[in-house]
Symmetry: C2
Subunit: 173 residues, 2 copies
């Protein structure tokens, strides 16, 4: 099937938002999604955007059962390693179920890697849930190292009251 990968425009945020929810349902945490297309439009298309995004499109004749032609997305941003320098991090990589196995996911990831290399990134990173073996296998097949398994890296998070409490402890200037 023919598909096209392009940089997302602000007008794509409604479609991206729809797929973010689809992905959250797949990851078994739909109630966790607190932002809508409005926040995406604000945070990704401002002067210093928090993220960049690619979308995958299929021609009208291959539109989905619900009539969608935007069938996948990769949302990413830049991080920094104090050992190696700039890196690109893929927050979300998603292809609608009926469009999987056609190289769209691989195409989106390869495009992010290409964009990252153009920005002199020396790493591409992402996080995967350990029970999500299809994705884990997909990435490892493509050459990813599992740093949690090999080096023991754990992801920690502060949010809600823990974050408020932390910020309140900041020394006065």
């Amino acid at each position: 099937m023919k598909f096209k990968i392009r940089t997302a425009k602000q007008e794509d945020c409604k479609e991206i938002s729809r797929m973010i929810m689809d992905l959250a349902v797949y990851e078994k945490m739909p109630e966790q999604v607190k932002i809508s297309h409005r926040e995406l439009e604000r945070d990704g298309f401002c002067h210093n955007p928090f993220f960049e995004c690619l979308v995958a499109e299929v021609p009208e004749e291959h539109k989905s059962s619900q009539g969608h032609t935007t069938v996948g997305y990769a949302l990413y941003f830049y991080t920094y390693s104090t050992w190696k320098g700039p890196s690109v991090f893929i927050e979300d990589l998603y292809v609608m179920p009926e469009y999987r196995g056609k190289g769209i996911g691989s195409g989106l990831m390869a495009k992010v890697a290409q964009v990252g290399k153009e920005k002199k990134c020396v790493r591409l990173q992402l996080s995967v849930l350990d029970w999500n073996t299809p994705s884990l296998d997909f990435y490892v097949r493509k050459g990813a190292q599992d740093l949690t398994a090999s080096e023991g890296w754990h992801a920690l998070r502060f949010d809600g009251e823990a974050l408020d409490k932390l910020a309140a402890e900041a020394p006065k200037d």
Copy 2:
């Protein structure tokens, strides 16, 4: 002991670079450090910087045995959750051994949390090595959740040839 936390200036990169190496030695991977103060000066102090940094300073009379007054740093950048919105990620948090237990590490982290909240970040995240129990305990005591333990998130990385191969597979526009 009196100490001051301030935003890093480009001139601080030599001192930050010295402490990055100290931290890598502590993390048992000093040979992994491939960048110097020159890359930090370029990547952190350009138009769209890849990171922001805070440094902790002590007064001249408390300078270290090697004569340093810059005794700690926190290097961080902004990431994005498609479920919650902007987040701040601490890449490195370091205090020189002879200055630990004086609240400098807590002060640096609290200041990053404060800066993050000013940018409307709803999360502060970081990665810790599982054998590094002093740091793990320090963060958990402050209210951090271990997402790898609780939700099973694994960190994956592509670099070197794997990244080159990925980028080479990008579909032509």
